[in-house]
Symmetry: C2
Subunit: 393 residues, 2 copies
């Protein structure tokens, strides 16, 4: 076996999303000609907004030399200024270009943040159900993942977070709005998290940080904007991307925003830029940096998503599913009828409907529907969801 | 201090290239109006070839939907097929798309490779002088960097590599052609390295691998193509990018090629794809993948570089500098007159000429000139190099 034992062990553990992805490919090519209803992956079917194409075409027709060269590891000043202006407006805080590091997606931003913050042996708290990559991201940098549970409505459980904090705790990762639940945390919860971490940081040489992984921050359906982790707690970094809000997941364009309220934020931004370089990212892709600089006030068609969210939430609730209300992102996380999520998703799979069991996110008994698909997929699957709850409850 | 102790220690060590970059910016804005001759950084002044602009414009004017979505973590099949075809021709080996993982530059490819190969506590050998990022890359994955010295002409010293191999050695990183020396290794050396590692791998459960970091593989000035690490040794992975051969360093488009001669290469490619995902890269930027798929047989204007290489090599040699012959890349690595590279580069700096001391690459007594600059910079600096050797020898 040529590979490392560490990776071999990771791969032996398998990934539900990967298994379902392969199952989807197998079903699509099984010769039956029947449709597959694949709700397993967050890869939007929606095209980027027209403003994106316009900006991209303008930029590639500009013959100014030097556009594809290296820039500072933090990214183009012009892009960081546009991001800072948008964040300042959203959070009423004085972001400057020096608070922003452009990154290779939100995944890059989270890794850069962890590298800058963590010394080996420290701990990072995540909140179940959680994005499956966090374990890998945290262990990449020699830290240990510690899991806090959430409340029945999937809001953060501050008491459980408090119980999981040790003298090795370095950061708490939150995802707002959440993957896999679609839940947006209330501002009081984020304020409460700030109070808790402020209190728990007293007497430490370095505070406990919040890392808010927020690629869905602009996909909010019932209020004008997302609640603010920056406003809840001073020691906050937001890792995000334009994968979802501009529909560009393949382009790997994101950023890390370091709160101007962090004591010593300049030093922290410097460390994240250093991590961006030395982890091998070097910088976010140059061309896409120039494109998104023009699109900070643009968001993909929210109605496209809201319509699907409403349809799924209303119909599943009517059928008898218990569904925590999803205020954002493009996920719904219903309770699995019968309580056994693995058995239930296998049953759906028999009917060519692919969803991810909650077990894959560290919370059994639920399943995730990713609804960034065309309407006909949802409409075609609804009778199958209805048959499943009838036959299985 | 908000940052990790590990990063703080790295940053306290400083980087010569960064210091010189900052010095260059300071000199350029010192109000004197005098030119600065900055040979410190490998950021090409040469624009990408015209075929690049043509391909880019064609692609962004294509309205086929789904172009910016996620694809497999290995990259688009079409791009990997184009890369595999070019490599098969170059090395006379049967590369398939399954041997290729598209990456976020060569820096991404090296990190992905190390993550897939290394278990914590293992060792990776580099050859001094070496690219400064290797230490960070190796330590990112919990391994230790071990330095082998090279011969006086900067060819690999196989005896020293042999002496540095322990039962914890997992890989040897080479850079062919080399940064900082510009030296291309003879095929006999690569064959000899293969013989050595084949012999040293006997009785191990996993062989010692060669990781050939080859972003300059197409910048070769005296022969039609670069010597082949793939042909020298079966257990070889090549990490490369189009940063230099197409002039796209800011776009972060590269790839990793896994030799089809590796026993279990399919497993290794799978592990590197997994590492690409879990290190947070996810995939190489989608748009640039589609562009470079069309450009595998295109290279930036080699005459632009060859002319500068010849001018610098001939003139520096005439002045009395000892210069190992640079067959590729865009670096020249002369001996520092007087023997003290730090003192010598300070002297050049007083005359507004910026070069990097060999100490920054783990080999004192030399200095690196990066000649990916316009002719007038080289012509303007030549009298200053001549004055420096006269005054300092």
């Amino acid at each position: 076996m040529p590979i490392s034992r560490r990776i071999a062990a990771y791969q032996a553990g398998g990934s539900w999303i990967r298994k379902l992805f392969e199952e989807g490919a197998r079903l699509a090519n099984d010769g039956s000609g029947k449709p597959v209803y694949d709700f397993s992956i967050g890869n939007p079917d929606l095209e980027p907004p027209p403003e994106f194409k316009k900006a991209l075409r303008t930029i590639v027709n500009d013959d100014t030399p030097g556009q594809h060269k290296y820039m500072a590891n933090t990214g183009f000043e012009e892009t960081r200024a546009a991001v800072a202006a948008d964040l300042s407006k959203d959070h009423d805080l004085p972001f400057t270009p020096q608070n922003i590091v452009m990154t290779v997606g939100a995944g890059g931003a989270v890794n850069v943040t962890l590298k800058a913050l963590i010394d080996p042996g420290e701990e990072v708290i995540v909140n179940a159900p959680y994005f499956v990559e966090y374990r890998f991201y945290i262990e990449n940098h020699g830290a240990t993942m510690v899991v806090a549970e959430t409340k029945p409505d999937f809001n953060l459980d501050l008491d459980d977070i408090a119980a999981k904090i040790t003298d090795r705790t370095r950061a708490v990762i939150i995802t707002n709005p959440n993957n896999p639940t679609g839940v947006m945390y209330p501002q009081e919860t984020l304020d409460g998290l700030g109070d808790l971490l402020r209190e728990k940081s007293v007497g430490r040489d370095r505070p406990i940080f919040v890392i808010d992984d927020a690629p869905y921050r602009k996909l909010i359906y019932d209020s004008p904007k997302c609640t603010s982790s920056f406003n809840g707690y001073e020691n906050t970094l937001v890792a995000t991307s334009h994968s979802k809000d501009l529909g560009l997941p393949g382009e790997r364009i994101g950023f890390l925003a370091v709160s101007p309220r962090i004591d010593g934020w300049e030093r922290l931004t410097g460390a994240t830029a250093f991590a961006n370089r030395t982890l091998g990212f070097v910088n976010a892709p140059a061309l896409m940096q120039r494109v998104v600089a023009q699109l900070q006030s643009v968001t993909i068609d929210l109605d496209w998503y809201r319509r699907k969210r409403d349809l799924l939430y209303n119909e599943l609730t009517r059928m008898g599913y218990e569904v925590p209300f999803p205020g954002g992102a493009f996920y719904i996380f219903p309770k699995a009828p019968g309580g056994d999520d693995i058995a239930f998703i296998e049953k759906l799979k028999d009917n060519r409907v692919l969803v991810v069991p909650g077990t894959g996110f560290g919370r059994s008994g639920y399943f995730r529907i990713s609804y960034c698909v065309t309407d006909d997929k949802i409409e075609g699957a609804l009778p199958l969801f209805e048959a499943a709850i009838k036959n299985y409850s």
